[in-house]
């Protein structure tokens, strides 16, 4: 059973539907107790870091997620959920969950023809093997919509990058946490396959 964290951050039913498509049992909840006791957690979301963190703090979901991470529950972060597992975000200079050292930064693009947000299909290049990225090969593309991206302090935590005016981290991993900047639930077959691998992942560190 996958617990999808509801924290008032955009439409997360698409994640639920995608789980259904790969035959995974999943449920949406905003209850911190349910999150702390989950078998597996997907932490999705779109929006802005300050309002997301404010909601997590107010509801106690911040503590629940931190506790879930500490006890080894496999966690998959998506988009905003990925950005706020780091220590801070440049967006509103916001302190975040700090499950992994590093910060979330805004694109600084020299090429003015490149637009922000970075929106659309972009190739994802695996730079370090991880069970959740198995089978992804050169040229495989995933769907992105974002203006900020995660920048782990330790390069060893970077598992995949994407090129948009230079390579940026689009998949990071640390212990039982794996987090992606793109949207697997909107990335067609390749995205669904990633979710399917998550259903089988026991959170083992690589």
């Amino acid at each position: 059973m996958i617990t999808i964290v509801d924290y008032n951050a955009g439409n997360i039913r698409s994640v639920l539907r995608a789980c259904g498509e790969v035959g995974a049992k999943a449920a949406i909840t905003g209850d911190p107790e349910a999150v702390a006791k989950a078998e597996k957690i997907i932490f999705p979301g779109v929006g802005a870091a300050p309002s997301a963190m404010a909601y997590l703090t107010k509801t106690g979901l911040d503590t629940a997620l931190t506790e879930a991470f500490r006890v080894g529950i496999p966690i998959l972060g998506i988009c905003m959920g990925t950005q706020i597992v780091l220590e801070s975000s440049e967006e509103g200079d916001q302190k975040c969950l700090g499950l992994i050292p590093g910060r979330t930064v805004r694109f600084r693009l020299k090429d003015k023809r490149l637009k922000i947000p970075h929106m659309g299909w972009n190739e994802v290049k695996v730079v370090k093997p991880h069970p959740l990225l198995e089978g992804i090969k050169g040229g495989d593309e995933f769907y992105f919509v974002h203006s900020y991206y995660p920048q782990p302090a330790d390069e060893n935590n970077i598992y995949a990058v994407a090129d948009y005016g230079g390579d940026f981290c689009c998949a990071l991993g640390y212990k039982n946490l794996f987090a992606v900047q793109f949207h697997p639930e909107k990335s067609g077959r390749l995205g669904l396959e990633l979710l399917e691998r998550f259903t089988k992942w026991e959170g083992e560190e690589v």
């Binding site: 539907r17 995608a18 929106m119 190739e123």
Partner: protein, 259 residues
């Protein structure tokens, strides 16, 4: 680097797929959800559901159909037709649409674009423009005029000016529908597409007139579009998504090939 996108538009009337020629003579051609699933599996990058009668008949878009589509296709899709308020936009987004298209209502009340962008994000607020070629005048210097109500009512508004204003108001993307090219299969209105693409900093989707794979190539190169929208040529089975993408890929356009 972002890939260029192949977008398929499903014009829906009631719960049927429809196709028009120059915005008139519509006929039903099948079940839109089944078609959407088929295109999704065949590698389309994005889908647009356009309720072509919603605006004219002042009718709410069919939330139920959006939900059904969202449970069948796992790529971004947008919905347009009859969206008049932030409430409409939010309802559709919550039903599973990634983006919403506004057209007539935005011309009548431009602030709608800003309101939607603020509520669900600029990237989800798409301005769709139906455009007809006219003789340039002082009012319409570009020689392209905005037409509303599903291609029925001319507005006297210059298309280039409206495109720029749409960007300023917060639109995250523009759909350039050429009424003159719609359904002709003679190719996109390249001059119009390029004129707008060069003038704005947001992505532009070329729409109307695709008849051959070369037309898509032209729109994405000469027309400077970020995406090419097709309808008839895939609905009637003349080309599959895969064929179109293989053609573009073969000619050096970066498109998503693994799906």
């Amino acid at each position: 680097m972002l890939s260029k996108r192949l977008v398929i538009c499903l014009d829906v009337r009631g719960d049927k797929l429809a196709k028009s020629i120059k915005f008139a003579e519509t006929k039903d051609i099948g079940d839109p959800i089944a078609k959407a699933r088929q295109y999704y599996e065949d590698g389309v990058d994005e889908l647009v559901f356009y309720d072509i009668t919603a605006s004219r008949e002042n009718r709410d878009i069919r939330i139920h159909m959006v939900e059904q589509a969202a449970s069948q296709i796992f790529i971004p899709f947008s919905v347009g037709g009859g969206i008049r308020s932030v409430k409409d936009a939010t309802k559709l987004r919550n039903a599973g649409a990634e983006k919403v298209n506004v057209n007539t209502a935005a011309v009548q009340r431009p602030k709608l674009i800003t309101e939607i962008a603020e509520a669900i994000g600029s990237q989800s607020a798409i301005l769709s423009m139906d455009i007809r070629r006219v003789n340039p005048t002082r009012e319409i210097p570009s020689g392209y005029e905005i037409v509303i109500n599903g291609g029925i009512t001319p507005t006297g508004i210059d298309a280039l000016g409206w495109a720029k204003k749409g960007e300023e108001l917060g639109a995250g993307e523009l759909v350039i529908n050429s009424i003159d090219a719609d359904g002709t299969k003679d190719g996109y209105e390249l001059k119009l597409t390029r004129m707008i693409a060069d003038a704005v900093g947001i992505p532009v989707i070329a729409s109307g007139g695709a008849g051959k794979p070369e037309h898509l190539y032209d729109a994405l190169t000469e027309g400077r579009a970020d995406a090419a929208l097709v309808a008839s040529i895939v609905h009637y089975g003349e080309y599959t998504c895969r064929q179109l993408k293989e053609y573009l890929h073969g000619r050096g356009i970066k498109v998503r090939m693994s799906y």
